[in-house]
């Protein structure tokens, strides 16, 4: 397994770096074409399903992540800049099923860079929040969600134990 580097940069930025064992063209496709994105974008146990995609500056990717309980969480990316096989940027946020941004949740600015590294491709994901508070809010959400999932796992384990 290739190693992923996670760095917090200053107050409101997270940097995620990873190499993939494929050409830049192939990795670019995997990040920008929905038939491939849907296969990997959602972290387990979720699955990602694209509703619509317009991969152009100003265009929108609307998708939902479906949990094991069938609950759908709609998300959107509005693309800003696109330089094929080099980088793209956009705003990522939570939304309703029509793609209207939910302003209760922080919007994240994404900047994804692609570069050849020998026969591999290095991908840099820079996630910028409007403020430190926004970053902490997302972190807290992940934190809570993680706890919820851990507790559910624990519930299952406990149910299996003889009383």
């Amino acid at each position: 397994m290739l190693e992923t580097n996670y760095t917090r940069v200053g107050d409101n930025k997270l940097l995620v770096e990873r190499e993939f064992d494929s050409s830049v063209e192939q990795v670019w496709k995997a990040w920008t074409e929905t038939d491939i994105l849907d296969q990997w974008w959602a972290p387990l146990p979720f699955k990602a399903v694209t509703v619509k995609m317009d991969f152009n500056p100003g265009g929108q990717w609307l998708y939902y992540m479906e949990g094991p309980d069938g609950a759908r969480h709609y998300c959107t990316v509005t693309y800003d800049t696109i330089e094929p096989n080099r980088s793209f940027s956009g705003d990522d946020g939570f939304c309703d099923e029509n793609g209207n941004i939910n302003k209760d949740f922080p919007v994240m600015k994404w900047n994804v860079g692609f570069a050849a590294a020998g026969s591999r491709t290095k991908v840099d994901v820079e996630i910028t929040f409007n403020s430190e508070d926004d970053l902490n809010k997302i972190v807290e959400m992940g934190f809570k969600e993680g706890f919820r999932m851990a507790h559910e796992n624990l519930d299952r384990i406990l149910q299996k134990q003889p009383a």
């Binding site: 397994m1 992923t4 917090r8 993939f20 064992d21 430190e132 902490n136 969600e145």
Partner: protein, 105 residues
Amino acid sequence: MRRDVFQAIADPTRRAILVLIAAQAMTPNALAAHFDSTRQAVSKHIRILTECELVKQQQTGREIYYHLNPKKMKEVSDWLEIFRKQWDSRFNQLDNVLKNLKSKK
């Protein structure tokens, strides 16, 4: 300025300090001896770590010892763990997808 644990661990020297005192409680002098930077610079890092409660100090006789605050460290590792898990899961799936695409060629 408000200090938080994530800022504290963003700096490599502060991470090194945490690793050192995780092994054993240390006096300011013993700690400073591990770094090329000035004692003042090291003290400043310790102050930041103390302000955000990652490090606790304890007076033993005439010496001050710095301890790690495991409860606060847990807070850091828990969220990093979740963030990591999500992304690791994503990227492992992408590895497989890319492998399949390659073999189709």
